[in-house]
Amino acid sequence: MLLAKTLRSSTFKLAVICVAVFSAAVFALLGYVYWATTNYVRSRCDRDISADRALLVQAYRNAGRGELVALINQRIALQSFEPGIYLLVDPSMARLAGTLTSWPGGLRGVQGWVDFTAPDAAGHTQLRATYETLPDGSHLLVGRSLDDLDPFVGIVKTALAGGATLTLVLAAFAAVSITRRTVGRIEAINGTTRAIMHSGLGQRIPLRGTKDEWDQLAENLNAMLDRIEELMREIRHVSDNVAHDLRTPLTRLRGRLEKAYHDELDPERSRALVADTMRELDAVLGMFSSLLRIARIEALDPRGTLAVVDLDRVVGEVAELFGAVAEERGGRVKFESRGTVLVNGDRDLLFDAISNLVDNAITHGGGDVQVTVHDTDEGPMISVADRGPGIPFEERKDVLKRFYRLERSRSSQGNGLGLSLVAAVTQLHGARLELQDNGPGLNIRLRFDRRS
């Protein structure tokens, strides 16, 4: 099973290609070594033969054939360590001197090189020689035995063949074992993925603790699964809440319409009823839009969305706009800023988010709101502070969830989506949302990264 997977795996194919390329390189190298070695040995042999011959021919020219015969005999007698091959025959091919008994058959011509097989006095059979016809018509052959060369070439051959085989075997072994390891790790990830598809998001890919790239991949996938699980939980939570929050006003609407259907209504009352119904429907539609809007913001890609925005201006406009609302409640929106503060952002979304914060602060905080834009050491910051009852510490994380509403504000206007939108916009901007005590009241801070 695993073997079949190994052979099918792309890692294995890659490894095989690597092995092939590597082996070709090794073979080429070994082939060259073999060729160079034998060539070197042969050319040395040829050089020795040429030198020997030159000496003999010199002697012949200087002192004639008698001297040559004497010299050959002398060399044969001396050559205990360097087995030379010599033969001198007269024009009728009768042997005059040398280690060979007769002129090799088929060897004709004035001069040349030859490799041939013939037993000599010392028992060598593989011979190489140069021959020539001397001016008086006799023939001289000078050579060396190649028998000593063969074992040497043989050793080189064996060594090279061994090396090549070892290379192939090791490379094949490495290819298979690397592939098996890769396939094994991928198989673990695949297994977990299949298990997740079948049974649910509870499973995680096991880590080996090696901190290698496989572990990192597994860690990232696990983190992704964590996030998906969290989102799924959130979606479940949201759909429960949507069902609940929509069912309540829709039930109310239906009840009212049903009653109107059975009652005898005068035109004025029926108009009022229709107006109320439309208002409630608008609220339901508004909730839908808000939910969709939050979902869309969460799905936005910051790179395509964000441009340079002046927080001072945006927040100032929000403060001015909501000043009217605060005044209506007998309060004031105090805006404090020390000039331009640039961030990467989306003006519409920031306006919306800050509007929500200021609106919340006015509605729940009793009217007086302090809005501040600062360029702090850690980066740009917006602060919206009120003097209202604040949010209990243990609920501060929950208020960012969709539809979450504090117990005391359940009866008041709102759908519990405002801070979810703020959270979504904050996340899109890579900013941090801090909820702090204002003693008394709530101080919400949005901290941005400095523009790079």
């Binding site: 508004g286 809007r293 869309r296 306006f351 919306d352």
Partner: protein
């Protein structure tokens, strides 16, 4: 510009189309209706409409594509895009394709009418005058001051901008979303009634020193600035 009362409606939902046509006819427009993009293109090429409303998603040829093709052919009929896709990027895509305004389903018919009216009258407005007058209200656009009955009004820059927009569209119903779009450059529908409160404050400043009210609220839609008579 063609017949000042002729409107082209591109809408594939039969009920919505019937309601649209009914609403526009009641207000004195002559309406041509197309249920798909092909027919819409054919009718749109006649180019004698004062306004056309285009549903974002149409059978055969997509609404956005209809607008793009007509624009490419040099037809500049002011166009209101109507869509169930309400998010900012869809609006931007629609407006970039050549739409002049954008309305999200579901909508109040009063708002639709206000927007069609605004588009129909667009060519008539936008003069280069520096002083605007409606009744006894006078706005000097150079000094950025406003007077009513010769008494100067204390307005913030945004309030001045808002009043200017209302004055420029005097006699027309201006929906909330249009105010947000043109005065605050915002392209989303606010979840609160902040605009009403803000306009309410402006109304107190403008109308407290006048003999008669100028700024009126049109229930469920927006506002209208008009002098009596």
């Amino acid at each position: 510009m063609g017949d000042p009362h002729r409107v082209l409606v591109l809408e594939d939902d039969l009920d919505t189309a019937a309601q649209l046509v009914d609403c526009l006819r009641t207000s004195g427009y002559t309406v041509d209706l197309a249920y798909d993009g092909d027919k819409g293109l054919a009718l749109g090429r006649r180019a004698d409409y004062v306004v056309m409303t285009v549903d974002r998603m149409l059978p055969r040829v997509d609404g956005i594509e209809v607008i793009q093709r007509l624009r490419k052919e040099g037809i500049v009929t002011p166009t209101l895009i109507i869509s169930a896709l309400g998010e900012v990027d869809d609006r931007v895509r629609g407006l970039r394709a050549g739409g002049d305004d954008y309305l999200v389903k579901p909508f109040a018919f009063a708002e639709l009418l206000a927007r069609v009216d605004a588009l129909a009258r667009r060519s008539a407005t936008g003069s280069r005058t520096t002083v605007l007058r409606v009744g006894d209200l006078e706005m000097d656009l150079l000094t950025r001051t406003a007077h009513r009955n010769a008494r100067q009004l204390e307005l913030s820059p945004k309030e001045f901008q808002l009043l200017e927009y209302l004055v420029r569209h005097a006699g027309q119903v201006v929906p909330r979303a249009m105010l947000l779009q043109h005065v605050w450059d915002l392209h989303f529908d606010p979840m609160t009634n902040v605009i009403d409160v803000y306009v309410g404050r402006l109304r107190r400043k403008v109308d407290s020193s006048g003999a008669y009210p100028l700024i009126h609220t049109v229930r469920g839609v927006g506002f209208c600035l008009r002098a009596p008579g």
